[in-house]
Amino acid sequence: MEAASLPAALELVAGGGAGLSPEKRAVLGASLLLLQRDYRFERVWFWGCIQGVRGAYYIAEGLGPDRAAPRSRLYSLNCVEWSLLPPATEEMVAQAEQLKGRFQGDPSFEYEYTEINAEDAERLFEDGKEPMIKEESRLIATIEQIDRAVGIIPRGAFVKTPLGSVHENRNFEGLSLTEAKKLSSYFHFTEPVNLKNKTLLEKADLDPSTDFLDSLEHDIPRGSWTVQLEKGGTVVVLRSLLWLGLTFYHVPMTKQYGYIYFGTGWKIMHIYQSQTMPRSSHITDTEDLLQTYLQRKKEPSQVIKGVNILYYLLDPGVKHKPGILKGTCKTHVCLPLPQVFCCKLWIVQIIYKKNISVAPAFSKTFCTLNFALLNLVFS
């Protein structure tokens, strides 16, 4: 969020319980201004903080004339002295993704690779580098990931000029309340990915000067955002469930908006578990669910390709409804688990197209495969 509007903005995002102490607020008011002067930024954003076990990193971003250009990032441990971070590289991001656990709070801390692929290891040893990752580069990668995944702005807040640069839209007067509640009114403030894949029909209604970014509407996984009205319905607050701690606020019909991150720098991967079961347990719904799952998940689809899935819908009160996703196999298998009754859907078996296997399917692989699907369907 804009450094200039920081004090007011912190009040608006305080609903999550995280904020800055009076000391930090006061010091940021001074040091961010100096940053702007020293690095000749046009704008300075206070990005947020990543909490480590023994300390926290405070992060600021500096913007140049083109707002969509890569931003300079700086971090500080005490909000007084700031150090410039080098730009993130793809390699850094890939390495950091393998790291687990909390940040330590010491930029020179070195992580050891927990898992090294054989190829990676060879390459690393050839290079003569030790397989270590400094916390600083993990910090860079994490900020990059967060900005890429959940750094958002309201629609129309920035415009793309015919020359390609992006500026604040001086005519932006805020979203209306109805618009502000929709995910489609918010954009990822990063290089668009899905925009190119849109069909001509979908692009027809887009305004090239404002709709030059991806909207949140089709984010994967679905349901990774919560939209709430806070402070008596005067502020729209979006929280990411993927990166817990990222809060975006916007006061409808005003220019006030921004996002801030107060978290541990840890991405939540079990989000699908949090989705609620579709209300109607109609078979077509389930099929849709499974179909989308099969299409979405890349790895399991290699296994699942060319198989039929026989499943039962179990509803207390409703008789078992067997269904088959693809193909026409009609082999029934007894339901062995008493717990099954509580779940609405149970995929009983995955049957390969050619040889219909019955009992042997209850192998361990079946169970795990089965389970992969369950993850989606139950929850």
């Binding site: 608006l12 995280a18 000391e23 656990g101 079990h270 509580c342 089965n370």
Partner: protein, 750 residues
């Protein structure tokens, strides 16, 4: 002059209101003398004059637009060729008239160096200086001149044409107004100008159209030979501009007028840079109005409702204040939420002040309604749709029992449901001859209210001002299951918890279970603040589960902040930890069943010896230094709220096991709070438990397996053997051998 009115513009529509507004913007700043004359103009207007009004009005924006910011406009004019082409097209029909003016084009460059000044002002110093009035022409000539310079000679002609509208427009008002008193000065002012013009260039007599010059004719008449054709051109141009678009219904003329009005109203800096945006804005505003009337009521409603609710918080406090004050002066269970919030704010933790105060008022309301002995703001759990604000209370001892009775009724209802299910099962069993041998493990009974995990009662509400809802007591099964799942709260207490393994209850139960877990893990106090009661007699009896009561230490000596931060041993848990069983005090779940069902005793004893070992958790008031971290991450992080002013720092503890749980201590004051999603930290991403292994269908063994039918050969062999045997039966010795053969065969079949 007299001829012009005779040709009323066929398409021109006078737009008085808007243009008058525009005119008022245009004039006041530039000529203090004029506004009176001009503003009084409309009433004076006479029918023939009105025909000219479009032209005259048009003159003003045209004249002032290039005239005022003339320097800046150069860029625009030069940069865009479009207007030029546009005008040319308008003037095509008049082509023959233009020829004479080529000569003027050539003259234009010479006039270039003239300072650009506001034409109007010069108009009003008619006698002041001849040169000044000459400059009057400059803005327009400059424009045409630039075109001329920039472009080839054939293009210069176009440029000349582009000059026409402004000239023509400029002329009209003066023509019409000349006879009028208000414009007398005006007319006077033109005389010297014309005189000057006439004597200026040596080529002047050769100029075409020279003969048209009449003294006192008008300001620009040296360039305008034929008012008739000019008027036609103006009218055509205006008619074109007034053409409304087929798609939007707007016309350019109104749009330009609106834009200029807006620009002059708001006076933005660098207006030329943002002219596109202004244009867009003006169009946008036109739609905005309509939408407003439709949406206003609908949109703002939720905000008002919320405000109404918050207002109620303040109102009730005022209304009941007088009566309550007297009672509460002595001792109130109401916690000082604002004070706690202040200490947490020192570490950057906490809600906004408004929200804290609303919670403060909401807690007060809760206390006034419920018979509450102690009350505390426990924290806030974030949800997908709404959030939970949680209050931790203890009832007065007498009142509590009433509450428990109610709960038991509810529980019985729950059991009733179970019985119905049992009956269903029984019916099914009637049909099925086989009886399942599966026995569910005995249900671990929940802890009594006021003890263990149910020591406190929790009230939740979504927002301060909304009604408080009491959460049901937690059962061990819920705690055990809650440990295996990880789900976001929705904010609706009645929402089902869809998970694997299935959670016994709805979201209210899950919330209660998580509160119990978080409390047990993160409720801490400085060492020495609480102490065990001195009755030592009970100790032996309760030795199994540890003592579960404590009292405040009256002699508590607070530690310094530095000590509190340095060592985790200075903090202790004051809430019992929950055992694996889901209870704080271990209970043997098989005890009851032994009494009830003696038949099963033997089996159970066998199981007991294997499984049931008493679970022992850490005793109450265990220092935090005993807490286990998760994979190299310590359970707690401690820091002082500030390093700059250590004298007044507050010791802050942050739980790493439950991100969002904090505690502070400052002197004798301490408190715990939780703000978060209700999830425990896990270094790996959460993976739900795998379903249990698939049950085997039946045990395979010789007694179950079907025997293979003997083949013909075997049968024959068997018969042969039989015969042999019969034959041998006579001889008693061979009997044993036969048996051996038969046995072999059976084994083969298996």
């Amino acid at each position: 002059m007299a001829q012009a009115p005779a040709e009323p513009p066929p398409q021109a529509v006078p737009r008085e209101g808007r243009e008058r507004g525009l005119r008022e913007h245009l004039w006041p700043g530039h000529s203090p003398d004029r506004p009176e004359a001009y503003t009084s103009l409309p009433p004076q207007r006479q029918p023939p004059v009105e025909d000219f009004e479009p032209g005259r009005d048009h003159y003003q924006p045209q004249q002032s637009e290039p005239g005022l910011p003339s320097c800046e406009n150069q860029g625009v004019r030069q940069g865009s060729d479009q207007p030029q082409g546009l005008r040319k097209s308008i003037y095509q029909p008049q082509a023959p008239d233009q020829d004479p003016y080529q000569a003027q084009d050539q003259r234009a460059p010479r006039q270039a160096p003239y300072q650009s000044q506001t034409p109007v002002q010069h108009l009003y110093h008619p006698q002041g200086a001849e040169q000044a009035s000459y400059k009057l022409q400059v803005p327009e000539i400059n424009i045409s001149q630039r075109y001329a310079q920039r472009q080839g000679s054939h293009q210069a002609q176009e440029a000349r044409q582009s000059m026409y509208p402004s000239h023509a427009l400029g002329l009209d008002p003066y023509q019409t107004q000349e006879p009028k008193s208000a414009y007398q000065t005006h007319a006077v002012g033109q005389d010297p100008y014309q005189a000057y013009e006439r004597g200026h260039g040596p080529y002047q007599p050769h100029e075409p159209g020279y003969g048209l010059y009449q003294p006192g004719y008008s300001l620009y008449d040296d360039q305008i030979p034929d008012p008739k054709s000019r008027m036609l051109a103006i009218q055509n141009a205006k008619a074109y501009l007034l053409k409304s678009s087929t798609t939007s219904g707007l016309n350019l003329y109104d749009h330009l007028a609106n834009m200029l009005t807006k620009i002059l109203d708001e006076q933005p800096t660098n207006a030329v840079d943002i002219i596109e945006n202004i244009s867009k804005d003006v169009k946008w505003a036109q739609f905005q109005k309509k939408m407003d009337t439709l949406r206003d009521e609908h949109e703002i409603l939720p905000t008002f409702e919320a405000a109404e609710k918050r207002k109620a918080l303040f109102l009730k406090a005022n209304g009941e204040g007088d009566e309550e004050l007297e009672e509460e002066i002595g001792e109130t269970p109401l916690p000082n939420v604002m004070e706690t919030a202040f200490y947490f704010e020192q570490a950057g933790i906490g809600l906004s002040k408004d929200e804290s105060y609303h919670i403060f008022l909401a807690l007060k309301k809760l206390i006034s309604v419920q018979p509450i002995q102690t009350c505390r703001f426990w924290g806030k759990i974030l949800g997908l749709e709404m959030n939970y604000i949680i209050a931790e209370v203890q009832y007065h001892e007498g009142e509590e029992e009433e509450e428990t009775e109610e709960e038991e009724v509810i529980e019985e209802g729950g059991k009733g449901m179970g019985e119905v299910e049992d009956k269903d099962e029984e019916r099914e069993k009637e049909d099925e001859p086989l009886k399942s041998t599966y026995k569910p493990p005995p249900v671990v009974p929940k802890e009594e209210n006021g003890t263990g995990a149910n020591k406190y009662v929790y009230f939740v509400c979504n927002e301060p001002g909304k009604p408080w809802v009491k959460l049901p007591p937690v059962t061990p099964a819920q705690i055990v299951c809650a440990r295996k799942i990880k789900k976001f709260f929705t904010g609706r207490l009645d929402a089902p918890v869809v998970s694997f393994p299935p959670f016994p209850g709805n979201e209210a139960n899950y919330l209660r279970a998580q509160i119990a877990r978080i409390s047990a893990g993160t409720q801490i106090s400085p060492i020495g603040f609480y102490q065990f009661a001195e009755e030592e007699g009970d100790e032996e009896e309760e030795g199994e589960g540890g003592r579960d009561t404590y009292e405040e230490n009256p002699d508590f000596q607070p530690l310094s902040v530095a000590e509190m931060v340095d060592s985790l041993a200075t903090w202790v848990h004051h809430v019992q930890s929950i055992l694996k069983q889901g209870r704080c005090v271990w209970l043997n779940p098989f005890q009851k069943s032994e009494e009830e069902e003696e038949e099963d005793e033997e089996e159970e004893k066998a199981e007991e010896s294997d499984e049931l070992q008493q679970e022992i958790g850490p005793p109450l008031l265990t220092p935090l230094s005993e807490d286990e971290g998760i994979q190299n991450i310590p359970a707690w992080t401690a820091w002082p709220s500030t390093n700059l002013i250590p004298q007044y720092a507050v010791a802050i503890l942050q739980s790493n096991r439950w991100p969002g749980a904090y505690a502070f201590a400052s002197g004798k004051k301490f408190d715990n709070i939780y703000f978060g999603w209700g999830h425990k930290y896990s270094p790996e991403n959460h993976t739900p438990a795998l379903p249990p292994p698939v049950q085997a269908e039946y045990p395979s063994g010789p007694e179950i397996a079907e025997t293979r039918d003997p083949t013909l050969e075997e049968e024959l062999a068997f018969k042969a053997a039989r015969e042999e045997a019969l034959a041998a039966a006579e001889e008693g010795e061979e009997e044993d051998e036969e048996d051996v053969v038969e046995d072999d065969e059976e084994e083969e079949d298996d």
